[in-house]
Symmetry: C5
Subunit: 389 residues, 5 copies
Amino acid sequence: MSHASRRKRLRYSHRRRNPPGSAPGTLTVDPSARPSQASLIAYQAQTYHESPAAAIDELLQASTPPEIRWVNVEGLGDVKLLQSLGQRFGLHPLALEDAVNVHQRPKFEDYQGHLFFIVRMPLPSPANTTANTTTVATPNSSPSSSLEEMQRFHSEQVSIYLGPQFVLTLQELPGDTFNSVRKRLRTEGSQFRRLGADYLAYTLIDSVIDAYFPVLEHYGELVEELELAVVENSSPNDILKIHALKRDLLSIRRALWPMRDMLSAILRDDTPLIQDTTRLYLRDCHDHTIQLIDMVETYRELTSGLVDIHLSSVSNRMNEVMKVLTIIATIFIPLTFISGIYGMNFDPAASPWNMPELRSPYGYVSVIAAMTVIAAGLLGWFKYKGWLG
Amino acid sequence: MSHASRRKRLRYSHRRRNPPGSAPGTLTVDPSARPSQASLIAYQAQTYHESPAAAIDELLQASTPPEIRWVNVEGLGDVKLLQSLGQRFGLHPLALEDAVNVHQRPKFEDYQGHLFFIVRMPLPSPANTTANTTTVATPNSSPSSSLEEMQRFHSEQVSIYLGPQFVLTLQELPGDTFNSVRKRLRTEGSQFRRLGADYLAYTLIDSVIDAYFPVLEHYGELVEELELAVVENSSPNDILKIHALKRDLLSIRRALWPMRDMLSAILRDDTPLIQDTTRLYLRDCHDHTIQLIDMVETYRELTSGLVDIHLSSVSNRMNEVMKVLTIIATIFIPLTFISGIYGMNFDPAASPWNMPELRSPYGYVSVIAAMTVIAAGLLGWFKYKGWLG
Amino acid sequence: MSHASRRKRLRYSHRRRNPPGSAPGTLTVDPSARPSQASLIAYQAQTYHESPAAAIDELLQASTPPEIRWVNVEGLGDVKLLQSLGQRFGLHPLALEDAVNVHQRPKFEDYQGHLFFIVRMPLPSPANTTANTTTVATPNSSPSSSLEEMQRFHSEQVSIYLGPQFVLTLQELPGDTFNSVRKRLRTEGSQFRRLGADYLAYTLIDSVIDAYFPVLEHYGELVEELELAVVENSSPNDILKIHALKRDLLSIRRALWPMRDMLSAILRDDTPLIQDTTRLYLRDCHDHTIQLIDMVETYRELTSGLVDIHLSSVSNRMNEVMKVLTIIATIFIPLTFISGIYGMNFDPAASPWNMPELRSPYGYVSVIAAMTVIAAGLLGWFKYKGWLG
Amino acid sequence: MSHASRRKRLRYSHRRRNPPGSAPGTLTVDPSARPSQASLIAYQAQTYHESPAAAIDELLQASTPPEIRWVNVEGLGDVKLLQSLGQRFGLHPLALEDAVNVHQRPKFEDYQGHLFFIVRMPLPSPANTTANTTTVATPNSSPSSSLEEMQRFHSEQVSIYLGPQFVLTLQELPGDTFNSVRKRLRTEGSQFRRLGADYLAYTLIDSVIDAYFPVLEHYGELVEELELAVVENSSPNDILKIHALKRDLLSIRRALWPMRDMLSAILRDDTPLIQDTTRLYLRDCHDHTIQLIDMVETYRELTSGLVDIHLSSVSNRMNEVMKVLTIIATIFIPLTFISGIYGMNFDPAASPWNMPELRSPYGYVSVIAAMTVIAAGLLGWFKYKGWLG
Amino acid sequence: MSHASRRKRLRYSHRRRNPPGSAPGTLTVDPSARPSQASLIAYQAQTYHESPAAAIDELLQASTPPEIRWVNVEGLGDVKLLQSLGQRFGLHPLALEDAVNVHQRPKFEDYQGHLFFIVRMPLPSPANTTANTTTVATPNSSPSSSLEEMQRFHSEQVSIYLGPQFVLTLQELPGDTFNSVRKRLRTEGSQFRRLGADYLAYTLIDSVIDAYFPVLEHYGELVEELELAVVENSSPNDILKIHALKRDLLSIRRALWPMRDMLSAILRDDTPLIQDTTRLYLRDCHDHTIQLIDMVETYRELTSGLVDIHLSSVSNRMNEVMKVLTIIATIFIPLTFISGIYGMNFDPAASPWNMPELRSPYGYVSVIAAMTVIAAGLLGWFKYKGWLG
């Protein structure tokens, strides 16, 4: 399969890798999955231990109970590692299967002994990188920009398992939004270290949700740019840009709505794994998803309105073309007719009724004058109708 | 009834065969129903018995209680067989009637002594067969492809009865998505055999739902292809393809939405026939239907957006045609008028006011020059307006 | 009031006959109501008694308690009869008032001592009669068919009162869908006779709902026909047919949605007048209404899509017209200009600069050749642009 | 403020008269409010007393407990009167404030000691007066009818206070729909007089709701007329009529939806001020609002469909214009070109190649024949394309 | 960042200032936030004390318990002040963080020991200032008015903290709608002073909600003006005005919907901090938000309808242009053709078949007469088709 067709698939077809009919709980890894790279952070109020590239034994023996362990795996290519971790932390096979099927919607599930969250982390696409710069290049300005290249929003699935004293995160790709969390953990004497594993899980979810704010800011700017572009000199291409924008906003919406439902479900759930103080923070998180959805819906409505403006502007341009044609044709067709009359070859010699004007001394002048009057009259009429300028 | 009219009926009119007013519970079989072909699989942790073409007596006596029996009937043409099975397993007459009325929506019903599920299995249409190939032929590319031939999605009704230690499946047509289930059952020592009849029922439902993933992948590709087609060289035919796509997505949606409701209903139901461990798997199944619906809704929205692109592109093409006409006419109509002027037959001999230009030595050259200037001016104006190229 | 204006009123304005401000419970009969015609069926497991044209006394004294009595009244013109029946069976005045106000929505109400249902029975319109034939004549093919004649769906209000051991049905018009019920009742030793009055009421409701299936089949065919018509040679009339179809589907939807709500309400209600076994049958009925609504909604969506196809096809036709004009005009206007040039009367004798071509021996041939080249070039350009064919 | 601008304000801007920030419960009367005119009806099973223009003292002392008192005030200009009544009947200040802020939505509120209803009574506009006549003048047929004059639906706020043994109604304007209620009360020995104040309140609400039926009948007729107008000879004005109709239906909908919610709220409320028998009547009332809303929604959908018909008919008209132009131009432009050819002045004397046809004896006849053939061929082609007629 | 780009950001991108991944509860102040300006009002039934520019110590020591203290801070630039106040009044860090992130949606949160409200106060934009004048200048009448300048609605976030005996309000900008509240508090012996802090909080919320009424009145007028403009002489600019209006109404809607949810949440909450009497007032407030939302939704629907009118009027204008062209061209093209015929140079001398008309004495007159008849006929036909005037 070529790279291009893979990208195409990535866009719409959210494949589950397990062939239809496999036994549930089977871990069938996508051959294109990245190799797994595990890391371990273990901490307590006073202690802190970090293994950026932890070996599997280290992960499995990381079991000094009072410490909170955070195991982070980037890349889902190593089934064995995932299975060992699953056994080590007592994860349900279905929860593990969901992690490797990377087109899941965000969700929350309460298994016995551990909680399971899926979130979707926005990928550092052009959207993210340019969002923080003030000069935003006009997107897709080159005429060769195809609809496919306009696609900007991609997200990565992150599975979070929360058990007593541990958090396990499985990421599809290397690179994440968790660096600020790591930094806060590393800070000696941080309040963070005194809080439980549930607070760590909250912080991770929060950092994912926060990452949508710059993305949406960027889309807000895109909407505005497109608004101006459509209004000022609507080109046939604009409808494609509108469509691409709609498509992206639809993708973001599909990532955010279930995230909100997930947070509502957590708030309703009465699991002892989440403490009441953490619940307050999760409520705040929930508010953020609502705010994000609000923004997406606003952009979607504004983008829909742009279709009307575009169609109206296409019609108006056609109106203008028609007016030019009508003005020119309406003025010159009658004049040409008159000149045609006097181009007829009736023989004035045959009878005094045959075009006596041709021999009248002022015939030509009168005809030119008549034509001028007609042209002026028509121009005046057009002006009256407001068709000129 | 001809084959064509039958296909037509199949498309929209979901006939119930029972004439209006029949007694409820009557089994009136569609004369066009396929002959019934029954098979039996009976298993226990250690034993396994399979009769691919079971006789009715065998089915009815298949009653060694600790074994789990799965009776599968393909083709609903044999009323007697169905009635015997109904009596044998104690099925409610209404549940049996629903099985032979093959245009039911998926549903779940809890009768005393047994549960009843209806699911819709996607038929192995071109959609399924081509979905796994990477080269997808442009659909409907021949100009003769009518709207009817564009129809791609069909589904078959499968009724599943789950009682203590038995599962009965009634299928409309031969061929199904259950082969992988059979294969897993045949595997000696499989964990599967140790689980109850409810797990078997779950596996069957799951295999049906899984069969929608390749179908939707295929539709995802169709949406993309259509997107590109509409954008690049929108033909009047495109609106038909969009309509056909919408129609198919609507059919899929109609199959999937009630499937989701069915699974919610099962999860809420507190029947002892389904164990808690199986419920976890059904919850997973429920998630899959949500994911499928999410995909369908996305495709539907994208397809709707294509109508706007199509209409905009039709308008733009008309704009282009108009511009060509306007440019040509606007340039040549005034020039023709001028040539008409000098084609008038006013007699220069009659008076010095009568077309003295005709005899001027540079008259012709001046007129040609004037015409060139006018044409160039108009071209420049069009260029300024951006109508050229 | 003329017949035409009455029909017009019938269509949209659902008049309540009671003048605003009348005392509630007043029976004010529509002067246009049909004369009442009552019939009585009384039965028990072993006995059966039928009076096709029962006198009022017979109805009122029909009181041998263990027998189930079904009083059916066709035509609502006889207030006295209705009032006597109301008193005889202890009906609430409001329930009786609703029966004579014939534009009610289907509903279910639980009065003390009796239940009250309103259903809407589809009238045997062309829709019904042609639905069972396979050859469906193109609807509204004559150019004189007005929008009004396209109206096809009408329904009749049927009020059903269910009390202990009796069912009273009040119909707006003679003729109904109950014949199959009567036939089943007449069958000696039928299981039906052993069941209660609630089962009779269920059967009547079921027969009304079943009558919608052929109606909707017919509309499914109409949708398909219209689809083909719009696609193949969209005429300006099509939008009217689409509108008429939408209007009918809206009417059907308005009849079916409250029917579904009515059945849900019955299922939720815990009245002792309905037994649990009958409830199972009513649940089945409820499923049928959901299936019908599903069909209506599908047709409505498909019909909406037809508007887009129609508008697109109107635009495409205009495009085609414009192209013909543009091709012809663009080819001939420049050629005519050239011929105009050589029609000018500059005197070649006056100077060698004055149209020397006119006297050149190959002038005419060259001009004709030039014209041919120009025409061919333009044709080639049009071909390149895909405007030919 | 001129009258016109006041009317304009009346249309959309539902002013609350209290300046932002006033203390709640303040009675600030609109300077444009009508002077108050109070009347009193007091009755019991056997007694009846009516004061059409009651003085304030009479109202305040109207306190013989077993009698039911109905105080009706038309015009809200007299703050003092309202305040005295409020004190006399123990009304909550907020309930009184709502009565003078005349752009409230219908609502129901349960204050301690009394209930409070707001309903909106349709004003006797042209809609009402013409609704009962069979000949309905074409609305807005004069070309000068502006969008503003097309506004037809206005409603008046009526506040109803129900306490033990009293009903107080405050109306914005003189004139109401309560005359039939008064008439029924005046009837000696009427059953009405035996029922409580809650029944009186129900009757008043019912008479307001009933008043919407003729209004909606009228709009049903407007929808039909517009349907026919748009279909038959769609004029550019039609879109305005459609817009005006939509606007009116929107106003009616805004009056009816909260009325339905109000009645649901009353039915759910367990206040002792409303007896169970009256609740049955209110349930009936609730059904009527549902029926009314159903009608409004149907009209709204039909009206929306008219926009499509209108746009399609505008496009079709343009198509027709274009066809005429194309047919005429396509036939005559080539012919004119041919005549232009033979109008060229190449000198046949200069060479035998120069237009020898001009001197051929049958040249003219051949050319005329060729032109006829071309014209006929083009006409045939147009006929084949279906562009003629 | 330039001022223009800042304004642009303000419009759509609701930035949270905290960089993604900050610890929750961090107070990171926007560098562009206004400097804080605090004021204190403390009152009791008999005492009243107001410090318009209170120092921080005064605020912190303002603690004589029986008095109710209202601390108002305008401008959020001073983190220290906010933190001291937070500590002083025992506010939750998350509640404080929300106050400085100024793009929150209105919400209500019940923290232990205090309640937290966010409301959005409409900014005194042109909308507000012109709303109270009767002469409303045509908006955006200058051709240079860009889409951006049409933006009219902006709102400011106000955070309200309600605890036992205190209210703390944090405003984004100086200037508010609270002056009437202050005035009422200053009034000696006012009932207001006797009520609790919850009543003060209610009054503040109420004054914010009331401030939307004049804003919406203004938008009602804008909708009407636009309606008239679009109907009377629809200009291409109108679609932009419609879009700007839609955008503003969307913004208002986004401010009001969560305000309604907030009030519902307060009414459902059983906090002891709000007394039952105050709840009645809050219910009134809730009604006002419903009324406001109702207005917004109505305006939104009307504005949507304007798009149809605009598109229809664009099409109608094009129709008119086309008609003029068609009439002129259709009349003169055939006439020009006839004159072209008689301009051909066939030599009448060569044969009697060659244009004998040219030498006929009445040839010219006949041709002119024929032309007149043709022109008249065509004009008559156009008149019959209704294309003239």
